[in-house]
Symmetry: C2
Subunit: 172 residues, 2 copies
């Protein structure tokens, strides 16, 4: 029983997006308690030329959306990057999770031979198999981690448990 692409991309990415939403909610509560506008977090960055929080969340959502579409050979819906508030970012995450739910395990059959192309490397592709392992997974966690780190560096009280989420513990 190897990990399936459905477990790695659909189920776990969805769980992680849920964790990201919880992290953003903690930032919202933090701002409310300190009586400042929660949306001030949205433009915060780790470096002047890195993406701000809002973009890290949008990209995290887009990787999940694109992974499902690319691996099933379908066209994803376009989401305008027009969020301006924390609450609108919650909706972006919800909308992404709703889209992911439209996929059944069987839709990913043959994912490994899908040709995955990027506009920035015309005429070339990688296989769906390589895309999952070497691109989608490392890239997705990069952006979720960046969102977490931006909020941590702003003093929001978060821990690794917020990032990893609940595990299914069993008694020994």
């Amino acid at each position: 029983m190897q990990p399936t692409v459905n477990e790695l991309v659909v189920e776990q990415f969805s769980r992680s997006l849920g964790n990201l939403k919880n992290i953003l909610k903690k930032a919202q509560t933090h701002a409310q308690e300190r009586k400042f506008d929660e949306n001030l977090f949205l433009q915060s960055k780790l470096a002047a030329d890195m993406f701000p929080l809002i973009k890290q969340v949008q990209i995290s959502c887009d990787i999940v959306k694109a992974s499902c579409a690319r691996l099933t050979g379908t066209t994803p819906p376009a989401f305008a990057d027009d969020e301006k508030t924390m609450v609108e970012l919650f909706s972006r995450i919800d909308k992404t999770l709703d889209y992911v739910k439209t996929f059944a395990t069987n839709d990913f059959k043959g994912y490994e031979t899908q040709k995955v192309s990027f506009f920035w490397n015309p005429g070339k592709h990688i296989t769906g198999h390589e895309y999952v392992i070497s691109y989608a997974i490392p890239n997705f966690y990069f952006h979720v981690s960046a969102a977490y780190a931006i909020l941590r560096s702003n003093g929001v009280h978060l821990g690794k448990g917020d990032y990893l989420g609940e595990m299914q513990w069993k008694a020994n």
Copy 2:
């Protein structure tokens, strides 16, 4: 053909550790060009109560080491966290990669039912299957991303390509 645990944990984690070493080498070159001590990077952090670069690299290595050991039911070698220089961090990565190479694909047979325990949650475990998908993978990329972001926030000229590494492009 689903992604195998060997591809996800042994091969891709090893590639990512190699990417991390390249990222650290770029930081080394950056320091040399600006004529400051490269080891000044080692204590840099994204937040006062997050781990510094040196610890992010040590943990990245340890997750790879622990994943291989836990999923094969073996005991990993103990690596003292005694690095003090960038060059010693390169050795830590190399030592980890050498250890990973001692595992054959077949060693991971039955990984999914291995009981994975943590000292901070005594009497409980998660299955090897859940450990790979929900713990080892998200946690590993968290720490590699943190190392990257620490160096980016210090002005080292890095891009996503350094983090993701080379893809196996094929002509359409």
